[in-house]
Amino acid sequence: MASHAVHHTAPSHSDHSANPWGGGTSPFKISYGKMMMWFFLLSDAFTFSGLLTAYGFMRHKYEDIWPTAGDVFTHFPFYSGHIELAYVAFMTFILIASSVTMVLAVEAGHRMDRKKVQLWMVWTIVGGLIFVGSQAWEWYHFIHGTPQGAYLLADGVTVMRHKIDPHTHVLEEGAFLVPANDRSGFVEVAGAEAAKLKETATHIHGANLKHNEYGIPLFANFFFFITGFHGFHVFSGVIINFLIFLGVVNGTYEKRGHYEMVEKSGLYWHFVDLVWVFVFTFFYLL
């Protein structure tokens, strides 16, 4: 693909090619719109990196008591058991697949094949909607939590969780976990000790910005903020793609002679996928 000739609209400027920085020509050989889209994406990448680094900061600070994502996101549609990470892996695949359909729309644009551009853009929009829907579904389960819930202790912050067997995801009868005072992780409490703690505790289900059934509230705060910010990007991407799709249907780009608008919205769409790759790793896998 690197062999594509660069198209210059002004033959009179070809004498500048000896010094591309001498003015009168674009040294990057890239159009204004595409270059600015890249710079916007660079600034957006800084924003997301800032958020993810802040998340990493807090996670390192509370490393001993940070919840394992595998314990939190175990739901799968139409299946009552627990499979950790399966649904997020599916979401990741959907987003990567919609990135491919987007790039196929761009490729069809290079052949001025309007029908194919339409087709692939529709699939991209469908993929985006499935992803946003999945995210809503996951938020719903995170907010509602488990039927058994957890106990928010009297200090208003510490959560006493039911102990779960990590392999079967079955609750261990009467066993609870509370953060250890010496920063060594969690300690198990049971019997009279657990009953005493429960007396002054509040029974909570799920997570919101104040408390989190699965452990430290910061986990929920970062989860809502970062996946929410990313979800908003996906949502805007779907809207942008839809508007560009209307342009394709109306023949706007056919008349213009090129489909660069599809490339620009494609850049944004791929960036959304790119960010998700990092969110997936740092929120769910690690």
Binding site: M1, A2, H4, A5, V6, T9, S12, H13, G24, S26, F28, S31, Y32, W38, L42, A45, F46, S49, A54, G56, F57, H60, K61, Y62, E63, I65, G70, E84, L85, A86, A89, T92, I96, A97, S99, V100, L104, V106, E107, A108, H110, R111, V157, T158, P166, P179, A180, N181, R183, P217, L218, H258, G266, H270, D273, L274, V277, F278, T281, L285
Partner: protein, 127 residues
Amino acid sequence: MDVRDDVYEYSLDNHHGETEGKKIRTLFLKVLAVLSLITIVEVAMGMMWSRDESMRAVLKYSFILMTLVKAGGITWYFMHMGDEKKTFQYVVIVPFFVMIGYLIFIALTEATYLGTIRPSVENYLGF
């Protein structure tokens, strides 16, 4: 439509025929296959070893490495960064790695230290 002659209206004359299009599409499907494969490997590793403390460091660094490979694939092929001029590649990529590399380094160093002097779990919201 008026075409201005002092700017690039359309930077890469990427118009190509069916034969070349076929090659490009095959490349995209290959990239998709690699990205999916990496994701499957990641999830499988996570399922098997995420609770195994001895595998923690291995998992951490291999996940980060695989993520960077995936990110590179998306940027280079899907976003066509590989087709841009080298100067432009540097303009976008270098500022990112310089600034974010430093940010990650300083944030994680400080956080690890703060973790060791953290008073106790009772006031773990007092940061």
